[in-house]
């Protein structure tokens, strides 16, 4: 039974990403076009999920909100992975004072609950995507640094690293060409994990009105707005909740699969 569903998360994730990429060319209505006369219009052939509190097409808003969630999560996770991996690799390879500074620096970031750190940044820089991506990136730098650091510590004493050093390769080249390719597995797993976490954090911030700004479609914002119209139009709330949950569960399941792939010892048996 398991083997038949082995690739389900990957397939679902691919479909979701495809939907995000194709959003501009799909025959969808304008996600921000307001039509006050048709507020809360029920499902129809042209608008399969109906319209929201401003008469905007719900289905198109959902697709664009998904696109923005995936885009923000991917960009911040990418930013965090580049910075975090660089710090972890340098700290783990150079050791000494550099290592103390990078790793203790991460301990400091970890003292702040992620949501609160993001809120501090929003207070200082104001809400919006320009604040959001660097902040979410910063919050998840430590998770990459720790993974990279731990992996480098196991790899650095291997013979091929010794050999590269013996051949006179510089520290920069060794880190980039010899060490990095050998620790990429756990980093990819971490990437998918962090993506799921950023989706959660971004939607939470947007829900509070501190992330993506209206009228741009965002799942968190839509859930927040849906609370006000709970009695008239519960589906305005239910659809974004379902889509957000689906996205997170698919990312989590994909992450588990990746982990099984790169570390077969931890595969299904123990879990």
């Amino acid at each position: 039974m398991i083997s038949a569903f082995r690739n389900t998360p990957a397939v679902l994730l691919a479909l979701l990403v495809l939907l995000c990429l194709l959003a501009p060319v799909l025959p969808l209505h304008d996600p921000v076009a307001v039509s006050v006369a048709e507020r809360f219009a029920g499902p129809s052939f042209a608008h399969p999920l109906g319209r929201d509190e401003y008469g905007r097409d719900l289905m198109s808003r959902l697709v664009w909100a998904l696109r923005s969630a995936v885009f923000i999560a991917a960009s911040s996770a990418f930013l965090a992975s580049v910075v975090g991996t660089a710090l972890g690799v340098i700290g783990g390879y150079v050791r000494g004072l550099t290592e103390i500074f990078t790793m203790r620096g991460m301990d400091v970031i970890l003292c702040f609950p992620p949501l609160l750190l993001a809120m501090l940044a929003v207070t200082l820089y104001g809400p919006g995507p320009v604040t959001l991506i660097p902040v979410l990136g910063l919050v998840f730098v430590p998770s990459f640094t720790r993974v990279a650091h731990a992996s480098v510590l196991t790899v650095r004493s291997h013979e091929y690293v010794e050999a590269a050093r013996g051949m006179g390769m510089g520290a920069g080249r060794i880190m980039l060409h010899t060490i990095l390719p050998n620790i990429v597995g756990p980093l990819i797993v971490q990437f998918s994990f962090v993506m799921a976490m950023t989706v959660v954090l971004e939607s939470g911030l947007s829900f509070l009105g501190l992330g993506v700004l209206p009228p741009a479609p965002s799942l968190g914002l839509m859930i927040g707005a849906g609370r006000a119209t709970l009695a008239q139009a519960p589906m305005l709330l239910v659809w974004p909740c379902l889509l957000l949950t689906l996205l997170i569960l698919v990312l989590n399941a994909f992450c588990d699969r990746l982990r099984d792939h790169f570390d077969p010892r931890s595969a299904s048996g123990s879990n």
């Binding site: 301990d107 702040f112 949501l115 501090l120 207070t123 820089y125 709970l230 997170i248 989590n252």
Partner: protein
């Protein structure tokens, strides 16, 4: 003893670094922080207001004076005043923090009551229906964001079924029953995700301990099964559960913000969300300092407890 002292000093250093960073954060903003704080509506703020707030925040003095002032203030539990309504930040936190902690405590108790027995049962019947269902359910519960759980709970239990108030708060001393009624939904919303974590750790930890020799010996002695589980397995399996659980609780200090907001629970979050929206900088940093300090304290307590219970850690 040296280990405990070392651990304690490390926490103090972390606390100092965190305070300094929070202090510096306003100076790391490019441009004039006060103008930036005031310019959220797009217009240029007028000079007099800028000067007033700058004086209020003490930003017109040299940075090192401001820093010394800030540290001295914190030592007296004085976190300054709000720029919006000039209320004392420390007093506001003192009034609201207990409510946040109460919510966390209620959620913690609920999730331990659900997660530990479920985890034990699943570990004792591996591969059974409960074990497999629990594994899927906990993956699901851990994934759904807490504000989605809360919002859907309101939709179902308040809007559709009408069993519960959608949110609010009544002081315990005024009406204990109503107080608990208001507490139940937010606490459950947190407990759903948290009990999934407890379930998973308990189950994994039990599975690590069950095949060990001393468990076999206990069984071979002819002890009844419940006795083996309670006195031999659980005692050894619960330690990692408690540790990871305590660390999760630290994370909750930040996570409750969303739940409190969803259910209008007047804890720290109401203060914080409003302050972020109004860009009330001293208020936001005050709350963040307190929460981070609690987080560091919690980690210290966990470490020290662990050091007492398991002396090998001190090496």
């Amino acid at each position: 003893m040296a280990w405990f002292l070392h651990r304690f000093l490390l926490s103090l250093v972390l606390l100092w670094v965190v305070t300094t960073l929070v202090f510096l954060s306003i100076h790391m903003v490019p441009g004039d922080p006060v103008e930036l704080l005031l310019s959220q509506d797009g217009g240029t703020p007028d000079r007099a207001t800028v000067e007033m707030i700058r004086k209020d925040l003490g930003l017109d003095r040299p940075v090192y004076v401001q820093y010394a002032d800030k540290i001295a203030g914190i030592a007296r539990f004085d976190l300054g005043r709000s720029i919006v309504d000039d209320s004392s930040i420390a007093q506001g936190i003192g009034r609201r923090l207990p409510r946040t902690l109460e919510l966390i405590a209620a959620a913690a108790v609920l999730s331990l009551l659900i997660g530990i027995p479920a985890g034990i049962y699943a570990a004792l019947h591996p591969g059974g229906l409960f074990d497999r269902a629990g594994s899927y359910a906990s993956g699901f519960a851990q994934g759904v964001p807490v504000f989605v759980v809360g919002t859907l709970m309101i939709l179902i239990f308040s809007q559709l079924l009408g069993w519960m108030p959608a949110g609010g708060y009544v002081a315990f001393e005024r009406d204990p029953a109503a107080h608990l009624r208001f507490l139940l939904m937010p606490a459950s919303a947190i407990a759903i995700g948290l009990s999934a974590v407890v379930f998973r750790i308990t189950r994994a930890s039990m599975k690590d301990v069950l095949p060990l020799d001393f468990v076999r010996t206990a069984r071979a002695k002819g002890l009844p099964e419940w006795h083996v589980v309670r006195r031999h397995v659980l005692r050894n399996a619960l330690m990692p559960v408690i540790t990871i659980f305590a660390l999760q609780l630290g994370g909750l200090l930040g996570g409750t913000v969303l739940v409190e907001y969803v259910f209008n629970w007047p804890g720290l979050s109401g203060m914080l969300v409003g302050a972020v929206n109004a860009r009330d900088y001293p208020m936001v940093t005050g709350v963040i300092l307190v929460v981070s300090a609690l987080f560091i304290l919690l980690n210290l307590i966990v470490d020290i407890l662990y050091g007492i219970v398991d002396p090998r850690v001190r090496k």
